[in-house]
Protein backbone atom coordinates (compact mmCIF):
# COMPACT_ATOMS: atom_id res chain seq x y z
CA UNK A 1 0.00 0.00 0.00
CA UNK A 2 2.78 2.37 0.95
CA UNK A 3 4.49 1.62 -2.39
CA UNK A 4 1.33 2.57 -4.24
CA UNK A 5 1.27 5.84 -2.32
CA UNK A 6 4.99 6.46 -2.94
CA UNK A 7 4.83 5.66 -6.63
CA UNK A 8 1.61 7.63 -7.00
CA UNK A 9 -0.13 4.73 -8.73
CA UNK A 10 -3.70 4.84 -10.00
CA UNK A 11 -5.25 1.46 -9.43
CA UNK A 12 -8.08 -0.57 -7.94
CA UNK A 13 -7.21 -3.28 -5.43
CA UNK A 14 -9.63 -6.11 -4.73
CA UNK A 15 -8.98 -8.05 -1.55
CA UNK A 16 -10.44 -11.13 0.07
CA UNK A 17 -9.74 -11.93 3.69
CA UNK A 18 -8.79 -15.60 3.71
CA UNK A 19 -10.25 -16.39 7.12
CA UNK A 20 -13.71 -14.90 6.69
CA UNK A 21 -14.04 -14.68 2.91
CA UNK A 22 -14.95 -11.00 3.30
CA UNK A 23 -14.28 -8.95 0.20
CA UNK A 24 -13.25 -5.35 -0.14
CA UNK A 25 -12.00 -2.81 -2.65
CA UNK A 26 -9.52 0.04 -2.36
CA UNK A 27 -9.52 2.82 -4.94
CA UNK A 28 -6.26 4.72 -5.46
CA UNK A 29 -5.79 7.74 -7.68
CA UNK A 30 -2.21 8.94 -8.11
CA UNK A 31 -1.24 7.29 -4.86
CA UNK A 32 -4.10 8.77 -2.88
CA UNK A 33 -6.66 6.44 -1.33
CA UNK A 34 -10.00 7.82 -2.56
CA UNK A 35 -12.40 5.25 -1.20
CA UNK A 36 -12.72 1.79 0.30
CA UNK A 37 -15.67 -0.58 0.31
CA UNK A 38 -16.57 -3.62 2.35
CA UNK A 39 -20.12 -4.97 2.44
CA UNK A 40 -22.24 -1.94 3.23
CA UNK A 41 -19.34 0.13 4.55
CA UNK A 42 -17.59 2.86 2.61
CA UNK A 43 -14.83 5.40 3.17
CA UNK A 44 -12.63 5.42 6.26
CA UNK A 45 -14.69 2.83 8.15
CA UNK A 46 -14.20 0.36 5.30
CA UNK A 47 -10.48 1.23 5.06
CA UNK A 48 -10.01 0.51 8.78
CA UNK A 49 -11.72 -2.84 8.33
CA UNK A 50 -9.59 -3.81 5.31
CA UNK A 51 -6.30 -2.70 6.89
CA UNK A 52 -7.05 -4.86 9.91
CA UNK A 53 -7.16 -8.06 7.83
CA UNK A 54 -4.34 -10.54 8.29
CA UNK A 55 -4.19 -12.93 5.39
CA UNK A 56 -5.60 -11.77 2.09
CA UNK A 57 -5.80 -12.68 -1.56
CA UNK A 58 -5.55 -9.60 -3.66
CA UNK A 59 -5.56 -8.48 -7.22
CA UNK A 60 -4.40 -5.14 -8.50
CA UNK A 61 -6.00 -3.64 -11.53
CA UNK A 62 -4.72 -0.58 -13.38
CA UNK A 63 -7.06 2.40 -13.34
CA UNK A 64 -9.58 3.77 -10.90
CA UNK A 65 -13.21 4.30 -11.85
CA UNK A 66 -13.81 6.76 -9.03
CA UNK A 67 -12.84 10.41 -8.85
CA UNK A 68 -14.67 11.55 -5.72
CA UNK A 69 -12.50 11.48 -2.61
CA UNK A 70 -14.33 9.98 0.33
CA UNK A 71 -11.28 9.51 2.55
CA UNK A 72 -9.82 12.68 4.03
CA UNK A 73 -6.77 11.06 5.55
CA UNK A 74 -3.32 9.92 4.49
CA UNK A 75 -2.67 6.22 4.21
CA UNK A 76 -0.27 5.91 7.13
CA UNK A 77 -2.63 7.21 9.84
CA UNK A 78 -5.38 4.97 8.48
CA UNK A 79 -3.17 1.88 8.71
CA UNK A 80 -1.97 2.81 12.18
CA UNK A 81 -5.54 3.38 13.38
CA UNK A 82 -6.60 0.02 11.93
CA UNK A 83 -3.68 -1.68 13.72
CA UNK A 84 -4.53 0.08 16.99
CA UNK A 85 -8.15 -1.08 16.79
CA UNK A 86 -7.05 -4.59 15.93
CA UNK A 87 -4.68 -4.69 18.91
CA UNK A 88 -7.48 -3.58 21.18
CA UNK A 89 -9.74 -6.33 19.84
CA UNK A 90 -7.21 -9.15 20.17
CA UNK A 91 -4.58 -8.38 22.82
CA UNK A 92 -2.90 -11.78 22.58
CA UNK A 93 -2.73 -14.59 20.09
CA UNK A 94 -1.52 -12.60 17.15
CA UNK A 95 -1.46 -14.92 14.13
CA UNK A 96 1.77 -15.74 12.32
CA UNK A 97 2.81 -13.58 9.45
CA UNK A 98 1.01 -14.38 6.28
CA UNK A 99 1.97 -14.74 2.68
CA UNK A 100 -0.03 -12.64 0.32
CA UNK A 101 -1.00 -14.24 -2.91
CA UNK A 102 -0.40 -11.39 -5.29
CA UNK A 103 -1.73 -11.62 -8.77
CA UNK A 104 0.05 -9.69 -11.49
CA UNK A 105 -0.80 -6.07 -12.09
CA UNK A 106 -3.31 -5.70 -14.94
CA UNK A 107 -4.85 -9.10 -14.25
CA UNK A 108 -6.17 -10.75 -17.40
CA UNK A 109 -9.95 -11.08 -17.28
CA UNK A 110 -11.71 -14.37 -17.94
CA UNK A 111 -12.25 -15.54 -21.52
CA UNK A 112 -15.88 -14.53 -21.42
CA UNK A 113 -14.95 -10.96 -20.57
CA UNK A 114 -12.37 -10.83 -23.34
CA UNK A 115 -14.90 -12.10 -25.87
CA UNK A 116 -17.45 -9.53 -24.72
CA UNK A 117 -14.90 -6.75 -25.00
CA UNK A 118 -13.94 -7.90 -28.50
CA UNK A 119 -17.59 -8.06 -29.57
CA UNK A 120 -18.21 -4.51 -28.38
CA UNK A 121 -15.11 -3.16 -30.07
CA UNK A 122 -15.78 -5.03 -33.33
CA UNK A 123 -19.40 -3.93 -33.61
CA UNK A 124 -19.08 -0.35 -32.42
CA UNK A 125 -15.44 0.47 -33.02
CA UNK A 126 -13.12 2.65 -30.99
CA UNK A 127 -15.92 5.13 -30.23
CA UNK A 128 -17.57 2.51 -28.01
CA UNK A 129 -16.28 4.39 -24.97
CA UNK A 130 -15.35 1.18 -23.17
CA UNK A 131 -12.91 1.85 -20.32
CA UNK A 132 -12.75 -1.23 -18.14
CA UNK A 133 -14.38 -4.60 -17.77
CA UNK A 134 -14.29 -6.74 -14.63
CA UNK A 135 -16.35 -8.87 -12.28
CA UNK A 136 -17.40 -7.44 -8.93
CA UNK A 137 -19.70 -9.16 -6.48
CA UNK A 138 -20.23 -5.91 -4.56
CA UNK A 139 -22.93 -5.15 -7.16
CA UNK A 140 -24.71 -8.52 -6.79
CA UNK A 141 -27.28 -7.46 -4.19
CA UNK A 142 -28.12 -4.29 -6.04
CA UNK A 143 -28.62 -6.24 -9.27
CA UNK A 144 -30.92 -8.66 -7.46
CA UNK A 145 -33.09 -5.77 -6.27
CA UNK A 146 -33.19 -4.14 -9.70
CA UNK A 147 -34.25 -7.39 -11.33
CA UNK A 148 -37.25 -7.69 -8.99
CA UNK A 149 -38.95 -4.73 -10.67
CA UNK A 150 -38.86 -6.59 -13.99
CA UNK A 151 -40.26 -9.73 -12.41
CA UNK A 152 -43.16 -7.76 -10.94
CA UNK A 153 -44.12 -6.34 -14.34
CA UNK A 154 -43.57 -9.69 -16.12
CA UNK A 155 -40.61 -8.42 -18.13
CA UNK A 156 -38.65 -11.63 -17.57
CA UNK A 157 -35.02 -11.89 -16.54
CA UNK A 158 -32.78 -8.84 -16.37
CA UNK A 159 -30.26 -8.69 -19.20
CA UNK A 160 -28.32 -5.60 -18.17
CA UNK A 161 -28.47 -2.34 -16.28
CA UNK A 162 -26.99 0.92 -17.51
CA UNK A 163 -26.23 3.30 -14.66
CA UNK A 164 -25.39 6.97 -14.78
CA UNK A 165 -24.38 8.15 -11.32
CA UNK A 166 -22.88 11.42 -12.43
CA UNK A 167 -19.41 9.92 -11.86
CA UNK A 168 -16.52 10.24 -14.26
CA UNK A 169 -17.74 7.02 -15.88
CA UNK A 170 -21.05 5.22 -16.36
CA UNK A 171 -21.55 1.57 -15.45
CA UNK A 172 -23.08 -1.30 -17.38
CA UNK A 173 -23.92 -4.26 -15.17
CA UNK A 174 -24.51 -7.75 -16.49
CA UNK A 175 -25.93 -10.34 -14.09
CA UNK A 176 -24.10 -13.58 -13.44
CA UNK A 177 -22.64 -15.57 -10.59
CA UNK A 178 -20.64 -12.41 -10.06
CA UNK A 179 -21.88 -9.20 -11.64
CA UNK A 180 -19.88 -8.16 -14.68
CA UNK A 181 -19.13 -4.45 -14.58
CA UNK A 182 -18.27 -2.46 -17.69
CA UNK A 183 -17.17 1.11 -17.11
CA UNK A 184 -17.77 3.41 -20.06
CA UNK A 185 -17.32 7.04 -21.00
CA UNK A 186 -20.60 8.90 -20.28
CA UNK A 187 -20.44 10.15 -23.88
CA UNK A 188 -20.52 6.60 -25.25
CA UNK A 189 -23.21 5.54 -27.75
CA UNK A 190 -25.41 4.18 -24.97
CA UNK A 191 -28.22 2.65 -27.03
CA UNK A 192 -25.79 0.95 -29.41
CA UNK A 193 -23.85 -0.49 -26.49
CA UNK A 194 -27.01 -1.76 -24.84
CA UNK A 195 -28.07 -3.38 -28.10
CA UNK A 196 -24.73 -5.11 -28.67
CA UNK A 197 -24.40 -6.34 -25.08
CA UNK A 198 -27.94 -7.62 -24.73
CA UNK A 199 -27.70 -9.60 -28.02
Amino acid sequence: MQLIELEQKTCTIRLEEKASGKKGILFFNEGQLLDARVNNMQGEAAAHEIFSWDAVNLSIQDGCALRENKIMSDLQPLILEAMRRKDEDEPEDIPESVIEQIEPVGEVPADRLIRLKQRIQEQIGQQCGLEDLYQDDLWDRRMAQLSKAGEFFHFGKIMLAYIDSGDRCDYILIPGQKTTVITVDPKCPRDKLIRVISQ
Binding site: L146, H154, F155, G156, I158, I163, D191
Partner: protein
Protein backbone atom coordinates in the same frame (compact mmCIF):
# COMPACT_ATOMS: atom_id res chain seq x y z
CA UNK B 1 -50.02 23.92 -11.44
CA UNK B 2 -50.36 21.01 -13.93
CA UNK B 3 -51.69 17.73 -12.67
CA UNK B 4 -49.43 14.70 -12.92
CA UNK B 5 -51.39 13.00 -15.74
CA UNK B 6 -51.01 16.10 -17.91
CA UNK B 7 -47.36 16.32 -16.99
CA UNK B 8 -46.65 12.78 -18.16
CA UNK B 9 -48.98 12.91 -21.18
CA UNK B 10 -46.19 12.95 -23.79
CA UNK B 11 -44.28 10.11 -22.17
CA UNK B 12 -47.39 7.98 -21.80
CA UNK B 13 -48.31 8.61 -25.42
CA UNK B 14 -44.98 7.47 -26.78
CA UNK B 15 -45.57 4.24 -28.70
CA UNK B 16 -44.59 1.25 -26.61
CA UNK B 17 -44.61 3.01 -23.24
CA UNK B 18 -46.67 0.87 -20.89
CA UNK B 19 -46.86 2.97 -17.80
CA UNK B 20 -45.30 5.41 -15.37
CA UNK B 21 -44.73 5.32 -11.66
CA UNK B 22 -43.33 8.06 -9.46
CA UNK B 23 -41.81 6.84 -6.22
CA UNK B 24 -40.83 8.92 -3.23
CA UNK B 25 -37.30 8.41 -1.88
CA UNK B 26 -38.80 6.28 0.87
CA UNK B 27 -40.42 3.90 -1.64
CA UNK B 28 -44.03 5.15 -1.55
CA UNK B 29 -45.91 5.48 -4.82
CA UNK B 30 -46.72 9.15 -5.45
CA UNK B 31 -48.25 8.63 -8.87
CA UNK B 32 -48.94 5.76 -11.23
CA UNK B 33 -50.64 5.37 -14.57
CA UNK B 34 -50.69 2.39 -16.90
CA UNK B 35 -51.71 2.15 -20.53
CA UNK B 36 -53.34 -1.22 -19.91
CA UNK B 37 -54.41 -2.75 -16.60
CA UNK B 38 -51.70 -4.52 -14.59
CA UNK B 39 -52.16 -7.95 -13.00
CA UNK B 40 -51.17 -6.86 -9.55
CA UNK B 41 -51.36 -3.50 -7.82
CA UNK B 42 -47.85 -2.07 -7.39
CA UNK B 43 -48.90 -0.97 -3.90
CA UNK B 44 -48.95 -4.66 -2.94
CA UNK B 45 -45.17 -4.84 -3.23
CA UNK B 46 -42.70 -3.35 -0.77
CA UNK B 47 -40.60 -1.12 -3.03
CA UNK B 48 -38.29 0.19 -0.30
CA UNK B 49 -35.38 -2.11 -1.14
CA UNK B 50 -35.74 -1.47 -4.85
CA UNK B 51 -35.68 2.29 -4.25
CA UNK B 52 -32.75 1.90 -1.89
CA UNK B 53 -30.84 0.06 -4.60
CA UNK B 54 -31.18 3.18 -6.79
CA UNK B 55 -29.27 5.32 -4.29
CA UNK B 56 -26.56 7.35 -5.98
CA UNK B 57 -27.96 6.76 -9.45
CA UNK B 58 -29.02 9.71 -11.59
CA UNK B 59 -30.36 7.71 -14.49
CA UNK B 60 -30.82 3.97 -14.92
CA UNK B 61 -31.82 1.89 -17.90
CA UNK B 62 -32.83 -1.68 -17.09
CA UNK B 63 -33.12 -4.09 -20.00
CA UNK B 64 -35.11 -7.28 -19.45
CA UNK B 65 -35.99 -10.17 -21.77
CA UNK B 66 -39.41 -8.72 -22.58
CA UNK B 67 -39.27 -5.06 -21.69
CA UNK B 68 -37.31 -2.10 -20.42
CA UNK B 69 -37.52 0.12 -17.39
CA UNK B 70 -36.10 3.61 -17.56
CA UNK B 71 -35.55 5.32 -14.21
CA UNK B 72 -34.75 8.95 -13.62
CA UNK B 73 -34.00 10.62 -10.32
CA UNK B 74 -36.01 13.79 -9.71
CA UNK B 75 -36.15 16.21 -6.82
CA UNK B 76 -39.16 14.46 -5.35
CA UNK B 77 -38.24 10.86 -6.04
CA UNK B 78 -37.69 8.39 -8.84
CA UNK B 79 -39.61 8.47 -12.09
CA UNK B 80 -40.00 4.94 -13.46
CA UNK B 81 -41.08 4.42 -17.08
CA UNK B 82 -42.16 0.95 -18.16
CA UNK B 83 -41.80 0.23 -21.85
CA UNK B 84 -41.43 -2.34 -24.60
CA UNK B 85 -38.01 -3.26 -25.96
CA UNK B 86 -38.48 -1.38 -29.23
CA UNK B 87 -39.23 2.03 -27.70
CA UNK B 88 -36.89 4.83 -28.80
CA UNK B 89 -35.40 5.56 -25.39
CA UNK B 90 -33.81 8.78 -26.63
CA UNK B 91 -37.35 10.15 -27.01
CA UNK B 92 -38.37 9.00 -23.54
CA UNK B 93 -35.18 10.50 -22.10
CA UNK B 94 -35.88 13.79 -23.83
CA UNK B 95 -39.46 13.88 -22.51
CA UNK B 96 -38.16 13.18 -19.01
CA UNK B 97 -35.72 16.10 -19.39
CA UNK B 98 -38.74 18.31 -20.10
CA UNK B 99 -40.83 16.92 -17.23
CA UNK B 100 -38.21 17.09 -14.47
CA UNK B 101 -38.23 20.90 -14.01
CA UNK B 102 -42.02 20.76 -13.72
CA UNK B 103 -41.73 18.15 -10.96
CA UNK B 104 -39.39 20.55 -9.16
CA UNK B 105 -42.11 23.20 -9.37
CA UNK B 106 -44.63 20.72 -7.96
CA UNK B 107 -42.29 20.26 -5.02
CA UNK B 108 -41.85 23.99 -4.39
CA UNK B 109 -45.62 24.44 -4.88
CA UNK B 110 -46.22 21.89 -2.15
CA UNK B 111 -43.77 23.66 0.15
CA UNK B 112 -45.55 26.96 -0.46
CA UNK B 113 -48.90 25.29 0.23
CA UNK B 114 -47.54 23.93 3.49
CA UNK B 115 -46.29 27.37 4.50
CA UNK B 116 -49.66 28.91 3.71
CA UNK B 117 -51.37 26.25 5.84
CA UNK B 118 -49.04 27.01 8.75
CA UNK B 119 -49.76 30.72 8.28
CA UNK B 120 -53.50 30.08 8.42
CA UNK B 121 -53.16 27.97 11.57
CA UNK B 122 -51.35 30.83 13.29
Amino acid sequence: MMNMSDLFYDILNTKGVKGILLFSFSGDIIFKEFISPVDEKPENLDWRFFIKSLEGMRETDLVFEKGRIYIRRSEIGYLVVLMALFVPTAMVRLNCDIVLPALRQQKSGKKLGRLLKIGKQK
